[in-house]
């Protein structure tokens, strides 16, 4: 490895390292604004100026010597040079603290500051601002610029969630590059030139028509100044006032690291955390902005008990008494206990033990697949990013799993930012370029509807709904026999698969919802690693627990014969024939409205525990400083239930649950590192028959926003607008629906108004398609409503 001398320290760094990384590796510092760990170095801000020189070689390969010193002669670049775009070479000397370098950095800082407004007291970035810090460290300390600075629009909403202050922008271009390089969708660019340059989106003139995609919030994190700000957290607090907690997002199975910033018991802001092997530093917008429901008025904070047919607020003691009264006469073995699958492992094991103590076999978690995800050879997300072929089947990853989507984008670029230095990931990875050539032919996407990812895939095809098994069969046949007759897309995907060493097949909810077991078995035959997307946040972890119904037990959704039930999480409707129902939830919607006792549920920001992401990585969930009122997590709710039923519980807290899990997984559940860990031993995963939902005549497609986020935030509802129901022209005439017509769709028992969009192309699926929360759940088009019209 080449030796480099930074000031007085000699270090060894790999070839291709930038001078910026070399000097940070050596423990020195220079200011920089345009560089970012995961973006290409561009050298736009010119802050990281250093003096640099390197020896040269004679044509015969020997070093050119300096006669005076007898050492190889150093050829210095004239003046100073931007270190972020300079590759190191053997024997290079970098000076960061010499007089010319210091002068250059201070001079450049002065230029950066002349047009920057002195908004720091009112700026949401104040206190966490790179420009502020660097100006203190490297600036002159006083201004010589005496003219009026540039005035521009200070409140320019780029979307419902992001507000741009054009005056504060220092034109580092991070946001522009971010959109092109990370999600691969160009949304922003510089407009005008010279001193008039500003950032804007050419998406649409008016806010309503602007769509910055599902990953737009990240630009607020990487903006080195307060130009791009989180509109949800606007003026909610200063950076030093927040209680910041790093935890794992549990709105999907990505396991993305997040920072939850709370103030006076409210979640005010969520920022992306850094986990280089999972989400790097990116999260999707639902993870970032979908937190308003936690503090919304619709949030349940006290138990509710039905008195005289009406749900009325009550204390926990009253709730326990009501449960006792309602359940005292029931056969405990006939009680069904169910939980949504976005609970922590600790809560899961508590539920398992509770069911065992009750002696009931009617226990389940939902939504889940009918196969164990750990039964296949899963790649890590890093392996996915390094794969030489990726085939996505039946998934809309853009909505379902943002992290997987972005890691596949990384795969297309062919550069995984993992160079590890003393300061972590490379700040200026010279392998990354602006507008890199994407290896589109390494990606094949098959889905029953036209999905966003197809725009980036070299091979893509829309298949008939339910055609996954057939598709996999054809892929296998075509892989083993190149003359096998099939569609061009399948045969090129098979060819791609055959020629790849590290292929990965990603299976999404379209493929897995109905019969995951057969699909996984068919995919396993293709000889590639398989990454199935779990149906819920902790689906990959809860499968290790005994949370599926035993023989003849009732699965969630099939409650026939049950008299009483306890459901934790969002349930659509009160099961019929139930005498007594206890619901443990965060919002008073769906089944909770018809329950006998409603217990307030702690959100996933309010509890401590462990979750397992789609790779099988165990990640910690930390408790943020959020005031959830009297809400309790599942362990608390079960304890109350156990009190009511006089059942003795082994597990009465997160710690005792952790001790139980320690023995099963050989991990210390008290100290799971933030970047996650893979357990040394794994119990055999349990699988059970698929949860059959009602079917219906509408195909629900995945959406990153969850139902509860929509209910709890007007901003999210407005930004999404009315849902679009995609119909083919055949379906439209079948249902008698016109394009643009407003319709009612009953989704999981709730009516939703949607707008019909009729397409005349083959890319529309064979069923009307609608974005929903859970794929595979039921949705029924109310044609009668359509016929009556909406005017």
């Amino acid at each position: 490895m080449p030796k480099v001398i930074v000031n007085d320290r000699e270090i060894e760094v790999a070839n291709g390292t930038s001078a910026l990384d070399a000097l940070f590796h050596a423990g020195f510092d220079v200011p920089y604004f345009c560089s970012n760990e995961y973006l290409s170095p561009v050298g736009a801000c010119r802050m990281c100026l250093v003096e640099a020189g390197s020896p040269r070689k004679n044509p015969d390969g020997s070093w050119m010597m300096d006669d005076a010193t007898g050492q190889p002669k150093l050829f210095f670049f004239p003046g100073t040079v931007a270190s972020c775009t300079l590759a190191i070479s053997e024997g290079m000397v970098i000076k960061t603290t010499s007089a010319p370098a210091v002068k250059a950095q201070a001079g450049m800082m002065e230029f950066t500051l002349i047009n920057h407004p002195l908004d720091c007291p009112t700026c949401d970035k104040g206190g966490a601002c790179e420009l502020q810090d660097r100006a203190y460290e490297y600036g002159y300390g006083e201004a010589r610029f005496e003219f009026t600075r540039r005035h521009a629009d200070k409140h320019h909403a780029l979307s419902d969630f992001i507000v741009l202050d054009k005056e504060r922008c220092i034109h580092c271009k991070r946001c522009v590059r971010y959109f092109e390089e990370i999600p691969g969708e160009e949304k922003l660019d510089f407009i005008e030139r010279g001193g008039h340059t500003y950032i804007d989106s050419m998406e649409s003139e008016d806010l309503a028509g602007r769509n910055l995609g599902n990953f737009s919030g990240n630009i607020g994190d990487i903006c080195p100044v307060g130009a791009l700000l989180d509109n949800v957290a606007r003026f909610r607090g200063r950076n030093w006032e927040y209680d910041c907690t790093q935890t794992t997002a549990m709105n999907n199975a990505d396991g993305a690291s997040i920072w939850v910033d709370a103030r006076t018991g409210r979640i005010e802001r969520i920022r992306a955390g850094s986990n280089s092997s999972v989400n790097e530093i990116w999260i999707n917008d639902a993870t970032r902005y979908g937190h308003e429901w936690v503090d919304a008025d619709s949030r349940l904070k006290t138990p509710l008990v039905r008195k005289n047919g009406k749900l009325e607020p009550a204390s926990w003691d009253e709730a326990v008494a009501a449960i006792k009264a309602g359940l005292i006469s029931t056969d405990k073995t006939k009680l069904g206990v169910y939980s949504s699958a976005d609970i922590t492992l600790e809560e899961g094991v508590a539920l398992e033990k509770f069911a065992a103590a009750l002696g009931t076999i009617n226990v389940d978690h939902f939504p889940r697949l009918n196969a164990a995800l750990s039964s296949v050879n899963r790649p890590t997300l890093d392996e996915l990013a390094r794969a030489d072929a990726v085939i996505v089947i039946g998934a809309d990853l853009y909505e379902e799993s943002g992290t997987t989507y972005l890691r596949i984008e990384e795969m297309l670029k062919g550069v995984v930012s993992d160079l590890k230095y003393n300061h972590g990931t490379a700040l200026a990875d010279l392998r990354l370029k602006e507008r890199m050539d994407r290896k589109r032919n390494k990606l094949a996407v098959f889905a029953p509807i036209r999905v966003k990812q197809m725009e980036h895939a070299g091979i893509s095809e829309v298949y008939a709904i339910g055609g996954e098994l057939e598709l996999l069969k054809q892929l296998l046949a075509s892989k083993s026999n190149s003359n096998f007759e099939t569609t061009p897309a399948i045969s090129s995907a098979a060819k791609l698969l055959a020629g790849a060493k590290n292929a990965v097949i990603v299976l999404g909810s379209f493929a897995l919802a109905s019969d995951a077991a057969s699909v996984l078995a068919a995919a396993a035959k293709l000889g590639a690693k398989i990454l199935p997307i779990p149906a819920a946040a902790n689906g990959a972890g809860l499968e290790f627990l005994n949370l599926t119904p035993g023989q003849n037990g009732r699965t969630y959704g099939q409650f026939e014969g049950l008299k009483t039930a306890f459901i934790s999480g969002y349930a659509a409707d009160r099961p019929k024939d139930l005498e007594f129902l206890v619901v443990h939830t965060t919002q008073l919607v769906g089944a909770a409205l018809k329950a006998d006792v409603v217990l307030p549920q702690a959100s996933n920001y309010e509890k401590r525990g462990t979750t397992v992401n789609l790779e099988g990585r165990f990640l910690p969930v930390q408790q943020a400083a959020v005031n959830g009122g009297e809400s309790m997590d599942l362990i608390g709710a079960i304890s109350a239930l156990a009190d009511a039923l006089d059942v003795k519980l082994e597990i009465r807290g997160t710690r005792s649950a952790g001790r139980e899990l320690n023995t099963r997984f050989g991990l210390d559940f008290e100290n799971i590192p933030l970047e996650g860990v893979f357990p040394s031993k794994k119990p055999t995963a349990k699988a059970a028959a698929t949860l059959r939902f009602g079917g219906g005549d509408v195909l629900l497609t995945p959406r990153m926003w969850q139902e509860k986020m929509l209910i709890g935030s007007a901003r999210v509802r407005e930004s999404i607008g009315l849902d679009n129901l995609m119909l083919s022209s055949t379906d439209a005439s079948k249902f008698g629906v016109k394009d643009g017509e407003k319709l009612e769709v009953n989704v999981n028992g709730q009516d939703r108004t949607v707008i019909a969009r009729v397409f005349n192309t083959a890319s529309v699926p064979s069923l009307p398609a609608l974005e929903g929360d859970v794929v595979g759940s039921s949705a029924v088009l109310k044609v009668a409503m359509a016929a009556s019209g909406d005017d």
């Binding site: 007291p121 009112t122 409140h155 606007r234 003026f235 006032e241």
Partner: protein
């Protein structure tokens, strides 16, 4: 020690017997405060009526006693409280915690919070010791209990001290008295707005 010394000492004592006493019978007689005496805070306004406070929370950050709590909100065309884009929607000082050190005044980038001279804030309930914006905005005379008393008796607020306020305090009070127009311009923006001179109801 001689007789002379004793006589000298007695002389001083005798002399003091005939001077005017330093002590005053407060509260019957008003106490005379020095101009720089630091008492209850005053939240000032611009000459055009807009509040100077921009809700930046720097006073809260500077406060060594953690006595200040600020919540900010955005100025809208219909509700413009301060110059610029941000105003304090909640501004509270816990007078029980406050040590009247004046660090908040020093930290304030707009000169919005200054320490006045009032000190008679003794009260019965802890929560009454938390002073909100409506208790400190310039123009409000007296402390909470004094104003309560005055309202009950429908008499002007009675204060037990006299003082010649220091320049900053006097300027702030005079500026508020001479507050001119109902339409103000946000400095630097050239936009005329009707300032909201009513105090916002505290929303928590």
């Amino acid at each position: 020690m001689g007789v002379l010394e004793i006589a000298k000492g007695m002389g001083v004592t005798l002399g003091k017997l005939f001077t005017k006493p330093v002590t005053v019978s407060y509260p019957e007689t008003p106490a005379r405060l020095q101009p720089r005496y630091r008492g209850r805070h005053i939240l000032t306004r611009h000459a055009n009526g807009l509040e100077k406070c921009i809700g930046c929370s720097l006073c809260a950050a500077a406060c060594p006693a953690y006595a200040i709590y600020v919540e900010a909100a955005e100025n809208t065309p219909t509700n413009t409280l301060s110059a610029g884009e941000r105003h304090a929607s909640v501004y509270e000082i816990n007078m029980l915690r406050c040590i009247f050190c004046g660090m908040c005044e020093e930290a304030c980038p707009t000169g919005a919070v200054i320490l006045g001279n009032e000190f008679e804030m003794a009260d019965y309930k802890t929560r009454d010791m938390v002073y909100g914006k409506e208790d400190m905005i310039v123009g409000v005379e007296g402390s909470k209990p004094q104003r309560r008393e005055a309202a009950k008796n429908t008499k002007p607020v009675k204060r037990g001290f006299v003082v010649t306020p220091r320049r900053e305090v006097e300027e702030a009070i005079n500026a508020n008295k001479n507050r001119s127009s109902s339409v103000a311009t946000i400095p630097g923006s050239g936009v005329g707005v009707k300032p909201n001179l009513e105090l916002n109801e505290v929303k928590r």
